[in-house]
């Protein structure tokens, strides 16, 4: 696994995705949720893998220790660097762009130490 710490030490959330999600709206909306909360992030295309692995690797590489993994069937995992691979923070199949945006918000809120957005009330 390569360390893609191109931006030096600037603190960022990392999103690792498989190539089929390269231009997906879903991933873009995860990014929007993080952007609205004011935390920097970067998306990387990785070799085929399950989202749990992707999220875990993203979290290890992220200087903030927060990572997301997205792969087939809109399965998204939110992970923190110190948790075990099998027990991530969130493991969810996303149903909409709004949900993706909330997932992004929650990733950023982990960094900010704020309560998560609930997935219950949908627009």
């Amino acid at each position: 696994m390569t360390t893609q710490n191109i931006n030096g030490n600037k603190p960022m959330i990392y999103i690792f995705i498989t190539s089929d999600y390269k231009d997906s709206e879903l991933v873009a909306h995860i990014g929007y949720g993080i952007e609205e909360e004011g935390i920097p992030f970067k998306t990387f295309v990785q070799e085929k893998n399950n989202s749990q692995e992707l999220a875990y690797n993203a979290a290890q590489n992220s200087s903030l220790g927060i990572g997301l993994g997205v792969t087939s069937e809109d399965q998204v995992v939110l992970q923190m660097a110190k948790l075990s691979k099998e027990n991530p923070v969130f493991n969810k199949t996303l149903n909409s762009n709004e949900q993706a945006k909330k997932m992004g918000s929650n990733a950023a809120r982990m960094v900010k130490g704020l309560p998560f957005k609930s997935f219950k009330s949908e627009e």
Binding site: E35, E36, K82, L83, N87, V89, F90, M110, P115
Partner: protein, 610 residues
């Protein structure tokens, strides 16, 4: 007689003390037992709890139930207390004149003024017009930003935006001009259009300065002196906000109105007083004082308060079988508190802390229902002599005096769940008692209300244990600032939460309140109830009414176990030169077992030798 047992049936807990006469003049306490009181105190259901507590005690003493010689029951005068909460104010915004919900991620910075225009209507604006765009959820933020840029390019002075979704930063990052943007405005359709509006967002970490100043709003809307007077409540309500919107709707207003909450009538020896609950706790207590000593209290039907007053009466009827009309409410404690409520007419789900009154009431009776319990016990334990012994207050004093360092003149403060009971033993050896409403249950009710918990058990937990904040997956920070690290990661759902520490277990508190706020609410509730009642109790039991005329105050009962309450009370009483602290019955039991211990000791003062 050799094995003497004291049994104290409390409202919440049944306690047992076993003493053994080793030889003439030689006596030892050999075991204790404790169990939750089963059923209402004073009813036959109590037997179950008594038997449980006895079993515990005999086991500890390595005895059997048949070995007991004498069981002495407290001559308990039932005291039943209850609490109710009444909200007495509401906040109403009229004509959608302001937005003050203070979203966590507004966009841009500064003060922007213009006419409110739906973003879809931006086309119809001309160059030079000053506008505030309104952006409903249907409009994608990227499209919205494009539209704003097009408008700016055409020369329209777009000076700010009001957005329905959580999109302010996204939009701010994509437009060509810096402007303040307030988002998460749930009821965007209620934003008045075609009106002058001001949007303000403070710089990072700061508070808005213009819209919280009546003259700032006057400048923005060119108000005259009278219109400026009218706008003061709006400005004041926004103090402390990081962002806000004010819209020029001349009749628009934010008002705090009193909610009629019925009256209570306090009957005293000398007359009666009628007081509206919405006048607040201070007025209620003043009225009560005027008619002391209280003979009864009635409420106006249909209110929470009257419902509660009738509830205590029914519970007592259950215990004693008396007529409801013969059951009198002898004490009231009112406490001013707050309850978070949604503001009426708000555009974004704004919340406000409304005034509420917490009321505790108490009934007592001189009836003695203990005989039926004694009879039932005789059935259970035919080989043991059962008797109803002395007055509860005397037993409490006797037990409390086994606390090292105590002496008369002394006041025992028994702080339970439903009532606070006090007994004084004067220098001359006289005993006076008083029962007051307001105790552990009221504290928990206030905590539950002020934090908007809707969960009494959680409130009890918050009351009893210190707080901590989960800072990372491996550490928590206690309310005293110290840090505790764990070897194994904590559950993800605990992350960032304020937790209650329950014997090493972390119980998350499902609100957005900061740890500092929850701590403040917890301590204030304890002060408002128990420090208040400690002083009231002392003034009522001490014959001179002067607290300086006693030397010692001993706190017993479940609420005396609290980690903060005894200190809060001793702090208050330090001004009066009294020694005050948590009891330590027999130098080892802490604040528990006072009456049970007293029951055994009082036999020894008057033994019957076989």
């Amino acid at each position: 007689m050799e094995i003497i047992v004291g049994v104290d049936i409390g409202n919440a807990t049944t306690e047992v003390a076993i003493g053994k006469i080793e030889a003439e003049q030689e006596f030892n306490f050999i075991a204790e037992g404790e169990h939750q009181t089963t059923g209402l105190k004073g009813t036959e259901e109590n037997i179950k709890g008594i038997m449980n507590a006895l079993q515990q005690a005999v086991q500890e003493a390595d005895l059997k139930l048949e070995d007991l010689d004498l069981i002495r029951l407290n001559e308990a005068t039932p005291v039943i207390g209850d609490v109710a909460m009444e909200t007495i104010t509401e906040t109403i915004i009229t004509e959608s004149t302001m937005i003050g919900h203070n979203p966590s991620t507004p966009g841009g910075v500064g003060l922007g003024v213009g006419k409110t225009v739906m973003i879809t209507e931006l086309d119809s604006c001309s160059a030079g017009e000053e506008v505030i765009v309104v952006i409903p959820a249907e409009i994608d933020f990227a499209i919205a930003a494009e539209n704003i840029n097009e408008g700016l390019a055409r020369g329209i002075e777009v000076n700010g935006a009001i957005v329905q979704k959580d999109d302010a930063v996204l939009i701010a990052n994509r437009i060509d001009k810096q402007m303040p943007i307030v988002d998460e405005v749930k009821f965007i359709d209620k934003v008045p259009l075609d009106r002058k509006a001001a949007v303000e967002v403070a710089s990072s970490g700061g508070t808005i300065q213009e819209l919280t100043n009546p003259y700032g709003i006057a400048t923005v809307f060119d108000l005259d002196a009278d219109e400026t007077k009218h706008i003061v409540p709006v400005a004041r309500s926004l103090i402390g906000n990081h962002s806000a919107v004010v819209i020029r709707t001349p009749q628009g207003d934010i008002e705090e109105k009193r909610i009629p909450a019925g009256k209570i009538i306090a009957f005293g020896e000398s007359g009666k007083e009628k007081i509206a609950v919405d006048q607040g706790a201070e007025e209620i207590m003043k009225s009560i004082e005027k008619v002391q000593p209280l003979k009864d209290v009635k409420g106006e039907s249909g209110t929470n308060v009257s419902g509660m007053l009738e509830r205590v009466r029914s519970k007592m009827k259950q215990v004693t079988g008396q007529n409801l009309s013969d059951i009198k409410i002898k004490d009231i404690l009112a406490v001013d508190t707050f309850v978070p409520q949604e503001v009426k007419g708000g555009l974004a789900g704004e919340h406000s802390l409304e005034n509420a009154v917490g009321l505790a009431a108490m009934v007592e009776t001189s009836q003695l229902p203990m005989q039926q319990i004694a009879d039932a016990l005789v059935q259970e334990l035919p080989e043991v002599e059962i008797e109803i012994a002395g007055v509860e207050a005397n037993m409490a004093i006797s037990g409390a005096l086994t606390t090292p360092g105590t002496d008369k003149p002394i006041v025992i403060l028994d702080m339970g769940g439903g009532s606070t009971d006090a007994a004084v033993l004067t220098q001359e050896g006289n005993i006076h008692t008083a029962h007051l409403s307001g105790a552990g249950n009221m504290v928990s009710m206030i905590i539950e209300t002020e934090l908007g918990l809707e969960d009494f058990d959680l409130a009890e937990r918050i009351k009893k244990t210190p707080l901590a904040k989960v800072e990372s997956m491996f550490n928590i920070r206690h309310e005293d600032g110290t840090v505790h690290f764990y070897d194994e990661p904590l559950a993800p759902q605990l992350f960032s939460k304020v937790v209650s520490l329950d014997e090493g277990e972390l119980v998350p508190i499902p609100t957005d309140h900061s740890m500092k706020r929850i701590r403040q609410v917890r301590r204030d509730a304890k002060k408002d109830v128990f420090v208040r009642n400690a002083v009231r109790a002392l003034k009522r039991t001490i014959p001179t009414g002067n607290i300086r005329d006693i030397g010692f105050v001993v706190m017993v009962g479940g609420s005396a176990l609290d980690f903060e309450i005894p200190e809060l009370i001793s702090n208050e009483l330090s001004n009066y030169g009294v020694v005050a602290g948590r009891g330590n019955i027999r130098g080892m039991m802490g604040p528990r077992n006072a009456v049970a211990t007293g029951l055994v000791l009082s036999y020894l003062n008057n033994p019957r030798w076989n």
